[in-house]
Symmetry: C2
Subunit: 271 residues, 2 copies
């Protein structure tokens, strides 16, 4: 099943794709749908065809959006660190997220970098969940780019202030349910800047997989339906290059995961 929040002539709606056509689900967006409905029951609620539907930010109101850093072996090597015993975690806000085709508007002069990532959508309430419970509590998978403001990220020990700029992290375009894809079999995670491939790896090389991360996080804080967990980025980020490379005004960042879809976002700097 492919789920989305779509905009259409009369507003937004949660929606499900049937044979190339978006059909309405009974909620204004997937955050509202998942708060009220088990994801595997969504197919039974399908309503009208939405002929003018365009996918927007699928989850506009996650209570938690937690990211894992340093989770692909080659990215860990490029940051000159050792393979981790525990996942490195940091958070974003609902305010941090933006749509799959939205411009990323930031003040001029920041060191803005890309981080293509598989994102996991929580589908159940998880408290101190074991791996099997966490796996069963996954609603689906989507694409994210953990756009990072490197100069602020490295101002202090804590990355948060470089990772939580409003409307900087595109997510979408759709959420694919686990009956259709399994990251353990290897989904290609790709980032392109102005058409040039800058990152490419497979989700089968993740150190901590989706179920690992949900179980680990749920040991200290409850996860709820509609929460997001970003699984980390492969090698190839701009800050690790020689010379370092950051995004420029007008750069187009495409973030693709095989079997899910592609984000296409243009960076816009303002004064």
């Amino acid at each position: 099943m492919r789920l989305a929040t779509v905009s259409h002539a009369n507003g937004t709606s949660a929606a499900v794709l049937h044979g190339g056509t978006w059909r309405a689900l009974p909620a204004v967006d997937l955050s509202a749908l998942l708060a009220a409905t088990r994801p595997d029951q969504a197919a039974g609620l399908t309503g009208d065809v939405l002929s003018d539907a365009v996918p927007v930010l699928p989850l506009p109101a996650p209570g938690k959006a937690i990211c894992c850093g340093l989770n692909y072996a080659d990215h860990i090597r490029e940051t000159r660190r050792e393979l981790p015993t525990y996942p490195t975690l940091f958070p974003k806000y609902a305010d941090t997220l933006t749509g799959p085709d939205a411009d990323i508007v930031l003040p001029r002069g920041l060191q803005v970098d890309w981080e293509a990532e598989l994102a996991v959508v929580v589908g159940a309430t998880l408290r101190r969940a074991d791996r099997a419970t966490a796996l069963a509590g996954i609603a689906g998978y989507t694409v994210a780019n953990d756009i990072s403001v490197r100069d602020w990220q490295y101002r202090t020990l804590e990355w948060f202030q470089g990772k939580a700029w409003d409307a900087s992290t595109p997510v979408g375009p759709v959420i694919v349910t686990p009956d259709e894809i399994d990251p353990a079999t290897g989904l290609d995670v790709i980032c392109r800047v102005n058409g040039e491939q800058v990152q490419r790896d497979s989700t089968k090389t993740l150190v901590f997989d989706a179920a690992d991360l949900l179980a680990y996080i749920s040991a200290f804080t409850v996860l709820r339906p509609g929460d997001l967990v970003l699984t980390g980025t492969p090698g190839g980020v701009g800050v690790a290059r020689e010379p370092k490379r950051f995004l420029a005004d007008g750069d187009v960042v495409e973030t693709e995961i095989s079997g899910i879809g592609t984000l296409r976002n243009t960076v816009r700097f303002t004064d």
Copy 2:
């Protein structure tokens, strides 16, 4: 003005103290009140006397609760770091917070430590605010203890997973408006464990004050009425002692700020 969320016979209510008596304000709690009302207008909305009122967690639903680390000169020295150019920031969740008299219930075996802190309550929507705008956007001040799970905090580079354990950070008991207190003049911040004073410093030694922090944060993410900013802890935490000292089952942690009030929380370990 002293504001609180109080529990009473019929539920909870936002409330204001008048001559030793709590009187109802028109909202179920201060999160709801601040979302709808400018804090300086609250006094005009006073309703019935609540004779059985007991202050509980004043802000149960902040969208953001952002903490500053390393903000008192002597605490920075005990962690063997230099005075910072930028504030070190990390977040908590609404789920992380608990009431001024609540037990702090955590799994047995964690290294649990105290961090008494002045907390600032946001009273306006702040986006890229300058210092004067940030100062005018402060609704008031309250007491918090940034209870920290040190072993998880130091598992990775990012402190978040040691700082965001559900229901571990007591806040309250009241919010005092800026017309009554000014941290720049020096409020004593005190922590006691089983009656023994373990931290004591003055808010006048903060490296980054309340307005500095709100302005700095608002450069990257919007702050809204009812959001919380914790300003950091003085020297004297358990992990910096020789030998290290952590909280034990049954320990009573009192967190006091002069002119505001005292939190009194008992640590309870569970299997």
